[in-house]
């Protein structure tokens, strides 16, 4: 995930929040949240090496597969839950999203946009599954099993009765404004700030 994406996520985390970072990796971003936003964070990651690095940063981390349903996390213990660029790796993204808006007041979700023109070009012209710098793996050998587009995500939120509080899109330098106006075509990735409807 790019620095730009993370800056956006950071700006959406209120000072002193209790944050749950799903797929926290080595904890670098969680540590940054704690330093710059005074956040009290808990990370969740499945990789042992990540766990050790995150712990050595002084963080609290839970070794857990997000796909197992996050039963460990009790409702309303967190102000913000973050899922950065991991949605497309989940077995049941819709269940995870539902769980996220249940366990925290707000959820921040980012994902690569499969509706980007380059993906469409790849698929439409070459007739092959897209591969790029952001998606470097072959279709048969990738953790990314649930790609979606910005429009797909909007539709899922609507179906799950999830409110979109805010959305930021990341696009190439030349397509900055196009990315804002036509995100589904020009955004390389999208970041959503969501909550349970009526929440």
């Amino acid at each position: 995930m790019s620095r730009l994406d993370l800056d956006t996520v950071l700006s959406w985390v209120p000072e002193g929040s209790r944050v749950l970072d799903l797929g926290c990796g080595d904890g670098a971003f969680l540590a940054r949240l704690s330093e710059e936003r005074g956040a009290v964070g808990v990370g969740v990651d499945i990789d042992p090496a990540n766990l050790v690095t995150a712990v050595s940063r002084g963080l609290d981390v839970i070794q857990e597969d997000i796909n197992d349903g996050l039963h460990c996390v009790i409702a309303n213990r967190f102000d913000v839950v973050i899922l950065a660029h991991a949605l497309q790796e989940l077995t049941h993204p819709h269940i995870a999203l539902q769980r996220m808006v249940d366990i925290a007041d707000e959820a921040i979700v980012s994902f690569p946009n499969f509706g980007h023109w380059s993906c469409r070009l790849h698929l439409g012209v070459k007739g092959r599954m897209p591969m790029s710098r952001v998606m470097p793996r072959h279709w048969y050998d990738t953790p990314n099993i649930h790609f979606c587009t910005v429009t797909d995500f909007d539709a899922l939120c609507s179906a799950l009765h999830i409110d979109i509080i805010d959305r930021a899109t990341i696009a190439g330098p030349a397509q900055h404004f196009l990315g804002r106006w036509f995100p589904n075509l020009f955004a390389t990735s999208a970041i959503y700030r969501i909550r349970r409807s009526g929440g």
Binding site: V42, P48, A49, L51, V52, T53, V55, S56, G58, L59, D60, V61, I62, Q63, E64, H71, C72, V73, I74, R77
Partner: protein, 381 residues
């Protein structure tokens, strides 16, 4: 052969004895008019007293957690892997205390020590200790050593249960708590295995109703069998296959061979049982397994584990070992989830290993790295 006292060893250590004249009352109401605790310490207590760490031992452990007792010692203390200069529990920085639990058989008052009232060994008359009794007696030892509070209380298995009990019973005393391969209470299956072990001991004709020492006997067959069963539950099926397979130590698979067959795994279990049966006191084994059975962290909180752990003020490290079937990962996850529900700071890891329940005592790069990384937050910066 002289022991290797170089890198990472606390070196030669001498057990100490603390004598307590103040009566000690067990949860059962039984009273010891006086008692002794044997303990070892490694490292130096600093002036602020904020670098003391308590190590709680498991069923067959002792106060001898690290280092060697003599130049000729064949093996170091039971957790030498983790304790020493530059090791995860770094004795260059921390003052480490490990005592032999009350009722055990390595020097602290227990069934194999003399009952002052009768001038005979206590034998089966020694009171049944519980985990919370050990915690109270360890607190007395801490006060005896002028330790104001523990920077960390650490243990695996039954030792982890003591660490958790410490955090709940004396919240202001425990800044960090590490419970490895532990459980919030025993399952029916756990209790059943303990009962088999006790039954083995009590069935030995030399048991003498627990009075074997006074009668000059030792129920070694019973204790050996108890240990064989216990030991089996500490290993994983995969770990045993890797280590022993179907290898024969004696005899052969040749069709004409009618000799006695001894599989490697049999030989190993017999050896473990035999060695243990002359070193470990039978009454202690009965008391320790009973203490395990009776342990229930949530009992005094209407069986609500979240309520029990809500009292704690410690930061927790909870770790399980993937192939542990004695206290499987799910039991550690129960503790973890209760801590999260109570809003306590907790790190949880499930160490991938074939070492089973013994995983907390054996080398594993991830485990050791995690313990080292986490221990950096313990004690003065």
């Amino acid at each position: 052969m002289a022991v290797n006292l170089s890198d990472g060893s606390v070196g030669l250590v001498t057990p100490q004895v603390a004598h307590f004249d103040e009566p000690f009352t067990f949860s059962s109401g039984a009273v010891l008019r006086s008692h002794e605790l044997v303990y070892e310490t490694y490292g130096q207590l600093n002036n602020a007293g904020d670098n003391a760490v308590l190590i709680c031992h498991a069923l067959s452990g002792s106060h001898h957690a690290a280092g060697y007792h003599s130049q000729d010692d064949r093996r170091p203390g039971w957790w030498d892997l983790a304790i020493g200069p530059g090791k995860p529990i770094d004795t260059d920085r921390l003052y480490v205390v490990c005592s032999n639990n009350l009722g055990c058989c390595d020097g602290s008052s227990g069934p194999n020590t003399i009952n002052p009232a009768t001038s005979e060994p206590w034998g089966g008359a020694f009171p049944q200790p519980q985990v919370k009794d050990w915690v109270r007696s360890q607190k007395r030892l801490a006060e005896h050593l002028n330790i104001p509070r523990w920077a960390a209380v650490i243990g695996g298995s039954l030792g982890g249960m003591q660490a958790l009990q410490w955090a709940v019973d004396f919240p202001d005393w425990v800044e960090h708590c590490i419970a490895l391969a532990a459980a919030p209470g025993l399952t029916a299956q756990n209790i059943a295995f303990n009962e088999i072990a006790r039954h083995a001991i009590l069935s030995d004709p030399d048991w003498c109703q627990g009075d074997y020492l006074a009668q000059g006997k030792l129920p070694t067959r019973g204790v050996a069998l108890a240990r064989m069963v216990g030991h089996l539950t500490y290993m994983s099926a995969d770990g045993m296959s890797d280590r022993f397979g179907r290898e024969l130590r004696e005899g052969s698979f040749a069709p004409s061979d009618n000799s006695e067959w001894v599989f490697q795994v049999e030989s190993y279990l017999r050896h473990q049982g035999a060695r243990f049966s002359t070193q470990f006191d039978a009454n202690t084994y009965v008391l320790m397994t009973r203490a395990l059975d009776l342990f229930d962290l949530a009992a005094e909180y209407k069986n609500d584990l979240v309520a029990a752990l809500s009292v704690a003020k410690a930061n927790f490290l909870i770790a399980s070992f993937s192939s542990d079937w004695r206290f499987p990962p799910q039991r550690s996850i129960e503790i973890r989830d209760a801590l999260l529900a109570a809003g306590k700071p907790v790190t949880y890891a499930n160490i991938d290993t074939d070492n089973g329940h013994d995983g907390f005592l054996l080398p594993n790069p991830t485990y050791q790295a995690l313990l080292s990384a986490w221990m950096c937050r313990v004690g003065p910066a």
